[in-house]
Symmetry: C2
Subunit: 425 residues, 2 copies
């Protein structure tokens, strides 16, 4: 069901839309210069149309969601996704402004967002990693974004009134059902849409669909994804949703934003870094063996996770000590003046971290598995053209992922995970 | 803020209200017999006004929620609570009709429910236990109610679309905040409203408010209560919300209904049975030592929990095998025809039960603690008039409760909990 009054814009429509609004047009060029603006449709995702508009004064991005997904006109998808993306970007900007493109306009009737243009050399991280790049600041930046947004929208920071208003605003059920199906269910059954490197991985795919522990673990994660409503998630945070340079990092494409488990966003990032790690072998060559990139990818996974936990806990401690904490840890129970308060806060934080890691690893395992035997794969592995070489990398990744999914509690920390991944090669 | 057009009824107002509706009046007596009906206000709870109306053809109960609670006119409380109670009763009736009073009418404007009258010898279970009674069928009936309602409103039974609609309908934030405050926070700080048997328990109350492990565990439970939205809870299921005879059992007073952790309803019931157990010593006398009641209360706790888990799991298995299961365990992954399906279901069920018990016990511990050092106590203990005898019972209960709250994982099953409680005497 399309929005009343909705119209899909083409490049000229986008030009006209921006030109008709002085406040937006001013960001691209002086009035009546719109004829000279360059307008290009650059959407390389599965779902929306993305236009880059450049002119003498600068550039803007216009992203529009049609009533169906871009790559399959018969696959309808609610246009409310544009509101979720716009409102998530605005909420993320309250917590980590340097890591999200600014939103200049959200037009509900046209399911359209006008946002800050991230010019070259900004580009999608997945593409850079597939090309062999290292991004030294990526781990710390992603960790900062996750810690700030996930802490800031949790009950460690909010009272339950504001938190429940947030929950009501981000009921993104239709897009969540996509995640629930393609990550937690389809890979574990002979779903028609599934594909894998065949015949090389036929045995592994069949084994997974007969694997009681993997099926049970994936269902438990699905339950956690639906039921554990902790914080506002980006909801689709992977290397394809990040645009970066060597110095800067922006998280984009938050249309899957929803209230869910903190471990989901973190786990999806860990899983995607590990996929890049396992693909790196298959993309290497005699001339370019990529040893440094592979080492860096494991270090990056560790650095990202330790930065995330340290930043999350320090924001938590600061909030309690400044009596600005949310309803879970009020100062009169956990503050320095409360009897046993400081120690209680340490116990609460230690317990939180102890329970977080296995969930992060299980989610990481699940997202890796679905990218190898599910409907949508990743460029990191798909760019390995030789199916035999690709299959070797995928088999290693699958084995590692299954261990993360089914036995996450065996890993004491992310270093142990990195060592396990390295040994799987 | 009162509902527009709201008016509080008195006994005569209730008479007139029922008489003006032939369909309701018919249940009490022939038309124009309303002058002979007996109308009595019997509300013995803290919150609402409850009228019993009896006539030649039968009886009805009318329950009305005013904009403030009954026992404190300055304590405002949303009148939407009446809708939550009515809709919860109707949903519970879909799953366990024999264990809830039928709802004949819900009047949103008057925040009023007309429901089935439960005649004597039905009476509140807490009162019967305090008087020394045993209720042999109570454990199995309460287990049946909890298993049917909690399974039936969970993602084991529903698809996420219906489950999210249910979640949106039962956002009972204002009443949940009461639970969050009085069970998970106030007992762990020197809140003005707290009271305990003084001076006998001064040391224990002070120790609790300086107890890092207890504070952290209580905060983790608060997080679970707010964040883990699994099924439609009764929300206040304790021995004061059950009316029973030796043969029948009805759960009433579901105005705190909300979507939350399955372990909460179960844990609150376990905690209240254990409170009755610890009070039983203090209410005993040479003539009436109550050994049999105490033994029965521990057996009842075990029987209730084992019946609950068996019934929950068998409904789950039946749903999967008949392909009527919810989104968590579809038949094409967990069904008998799916490869490894049956074993996967067993693994999922075993994991679910393994994680459920410690949460049940921790919630049980928290509800016991708040009934001894918090704002609202229980008749079981308060009826022990001698403060020294009461304090002995309360101290034992507190020690047992603290262990359940902080070290729930040490108990392999409910039998171990019963043994621990028995040893605490
Ligand atoms: N703010 C931006 N600045 C520059 N390029 C962008 C921006 N947002 C998106 N893009 C480009 O458009 C592509 C698709 O955007 P994305 O939001 O991921 O769309 P989809 O929701 O269809 O996946 C990105 O991969 C990126 O190349
Ligand atoms: N359906 C009923 N049949 C008979 N008595 C009832 C019924 N519902 C409530 N009562 C009586 O009214 C009292 C208060 O009802 P309750 O629903 O617990 O009110 P509150 O919400 O104020 O606690 C109960 O303890 C019981 O004695
Ligand atoms: Mg994208
Ligand atoms: Mg997208
Ligand atoms: Mg009551
Ligand atoms: Mg009945
Ligand atoms: Mg009540």
């Amino acid at each position: 069901s399309t929005i009343p009054g909705f119209r899909a814009l083409d490049a000229e429509g986008v030009r006209g839309y921006l030109a008709a609004d002085p406040e937006l047009a001013r960001r691209i060029g002086p009035s009546r210069s719109e004829a000279d603006w360059q307008v290009r449709e650059v959407g390389d995702g599965n779902i929306n149309y993305v236009y880059i508009v450049k002119g003498p004064a600068g550039g803007l991005v216009v992203k529009q969601g049609l009533p169906y997904i871009r790559i399959a006109r018969d696959w309808a998808l609610t246009q409310e996704r544009a509101r979720f993306e716009a409102e998530a970007l605005q909420e993320q900007a309250r917590h980590a402004p340097v890591h999200v493109p600014a939103v200049h306009r959200f037009d509900a009737q046209l399911a359209l967002i006008v946002m800050e243009y991230l010019p070259p050399p900004h580009s999608i991280v997945r593409g850079q990693l597939t090309a062999g790049a290292l991004l030294p600041r990526l781990p710390a930046h992603v960790a900062e974004f996750m810690a700030a947004t996930l802490f800031g929208t949790s009950l460690f920071a909010l009272d339950t009134i504001r938190w429940r208003q947030q929950q009501a605003r981000f009921q993104n059920g239709e897009l969540c059902r996509l995640t629930e199906q393609v990550i937690f269910s389809d890979p574990y059954r002979a779903a028609r849409v599934n594909r894998h490197t065949t015949p090389q991985l036929d045995a592994e795919a069949a084994a997974l669909r007969a694997d009681p522990q993997a099926k049970a673990a994936a269902a438990a994660l699905k339950a956690k994804f639906c039921e554990l409503q902790q914080a506002l998630l980006h909801g689709d945070l992977h290397t394809g949703s990040i645009m970066a340079t060597q110095e800067t990092t922006y998280m984009i494409d938050a249309e899957f934003a929803c209230v869910g488990p903190i471990a989901f966003d973190v786990g999806k990032m860990v899983g995607n870094l590990l996929l890049a790690f396992f693909a790196s072998d298959g993309l290497a060559s005699a001339a370019e063996p990529r040893h440094r990139q592979r080492r860096w990818l494991l270090q990056a996974t560790e650095e990202m996770y330790s930065n995330f936990t340290n930043t999350f806990v320090s924001r938590w401690t600061t909030a309690v000590q400044s009596s600005t904490a949310g309803d879970l840890c009020p100062a009169d129970i956990f503050g320095p003046e409360a009897a046993g308060g400081a120690e209680a806060l340490q116990v609460a934080q230690a317990t939180f971290l102890l329970e977080l890691l296995p969930d992060v690893l299980a989610f990481a395992g699940a997202v890796m598995i679905r990218r190898i035997v599910g409907i949508a794969h990743v460029a990191d592995l798909d760019t390995i053209s030789d199916p035999d070489i690709r299959a070797v990398c995928e088999r290693r990744a699958l084995r590692c992922a299954r261990e993360l999914l089914v036995n996450p509690q065996r890993f004491a920390d992310m270093r142990a995970v990195a060592a396990h991944a390295d040994a799987a090669r």
